[in-house]
Amino acid sequence: MSEPNADQTLLKTPLHALHVELGAKMVPFAGYDMPVQYPGGILAEHQHTRTAAGLFDVSHMGQCWIEGPEAADIVERLTPGDIKALEPGRQRYTQFTTASGGIYDDLMVTNAGSRLVLVVNAACKQDDFARLQEAMTGNTAMRILEGQGLLALQGPQAVAALERVVPGVSALKFMTGDRFSWQGADLYITRSGYTGEDGCEISVPAEKTEALARALLAQPEVKPVGLGARDSLRLEAGLCLYGHDIDTTTSPIEAGLLWSIPKHRRNVGGFPGDTVIVRQIASGPPRRRVGILPEGRAPAREGSEIVDASGAKIGVVTSGGFSPSLGRPIAMGYVDRAHAEIGAKIGLVVRGKPLPAEIVKMPFVKKSYHKD
């Protein structure tokens, strides 16, 4: 049996000792020693998140504040997102774009009133912070929340459990955020996540992160969930994983993220790569990210070629695995525009053989957000 090798000098989140205490299997991820699963296993953790509440340590992600009169202008200069019109307490998903219309990273931006709060991917955070720092003007400044904890509590019972620990949080709607206080610590909580379920993300000072995690794990609905189930949950929800489904070679339009670009920015531009992106909006992108349902039981993993009936290559799988909710494999990938129709029959090359599959709508599992 083959197995991957690992180990360099890895960073630790504020919950590292707790993960080890809980018996987590730790793996290197984006330079951090992170829990891929706990003793219950990925399938059980996945199902628990879909039916109750899962607690995820996402403290490896980058968090920063942009404060000052030009905060929204600066972020709009780097993203095609709707930031200047973002009302206090509202959150948006957007991307840092490249000059050629690719994606440096995807991120969440929340207008926290006196500042913008940004959450970026762990593997990209140093480059993101450098790019942001370079863009600062006048009296506007960036503050990196170094070492700050970030917990995600996700699932249909997540908010009820969190409400017992942090009263008032259940008043939040999907994609909004607010400040809360817990045992003297300032929390910033948004009602959002990366699983397709209702739930929250909680930014908490490093020294209080473990105590808060323990308080949440003491709730009867809550169990710890590792990166393994985080990946299968987001894949079922049809959400992109940076470095896999999106990167500097994929545009937001190819990736199906047009919904995150407001109308006036599609017309006016003013962000890196706007020429390419506006042209792709008008005339269609050369390829599209699609959902894929293999017919058999064999998962098609990232990198598997997608072929048409004649065996010609028409695309590539960018995320693929097993869907615990559906009990069968699922995948997403990029397919040439001409072939990217829902219902199209395609082949996925797995170990040299094309396996039959179909292009399907995403998400694979219905989202259950708490909207108004």
Partner: protein, 123 residues
């Protein structure tokens, strides 16, 4: 007689046919197994060569043949119930039976105590 490879396969021999699977340590390292591909009868296997595929939620791994020989049977039950590899790795979760070409190859494999010691060294 049960013997073990450094790649975490076990082989149990009766006459000149060996039954091959992955060890309890291997299944625990892989986690929940969601797909298994076993070799068809008649396929020629080389010692240390790829023989089967086992996939967890996270990733696919190759299973190697601990001996040279010809496949007699793949475990058809694993197609519908790959989780047998988790629940009973040394029993119902076997992968394939192989007619052993050179019995001398068994001498290079570890016995149970030797494998336990080998696994201890990996921690």
């Amino acid at each position: 007689m049960k013997r073990f490879s450094e790649e975490h396969e076990w082989i149990s021999v009766e006459g000149d046919v060996g039954t091959v699977g992955i060890t309890d340590y291997a299944q625990s390292q892989l986690g929940d197994i969601v797909y298994v591909e076993v070799p068809e009868a008649g396929r020629k296997l080389a010692k240390g060569g790829e023989a089967a595929v086992v996939e967890s939620v996270k990733a696919a791994s190759d299973v190697y043949s601990p001996v040279t020989g010809e496949v007699v049977e793949g475990n058809a039950a694993l197609a519908d119930n790959p989780a047998l590899v988790n629940s009973d790795p040394m029993g119902e979760g076997w992968f394939f039976k192989v007619r052993i070409a050179e019995k001398g190859e068994m001498d290079g494999l570890m016995d149970e105590a030797g494998y336990a010691e080998f696994v201890k060294g990996l921690a």
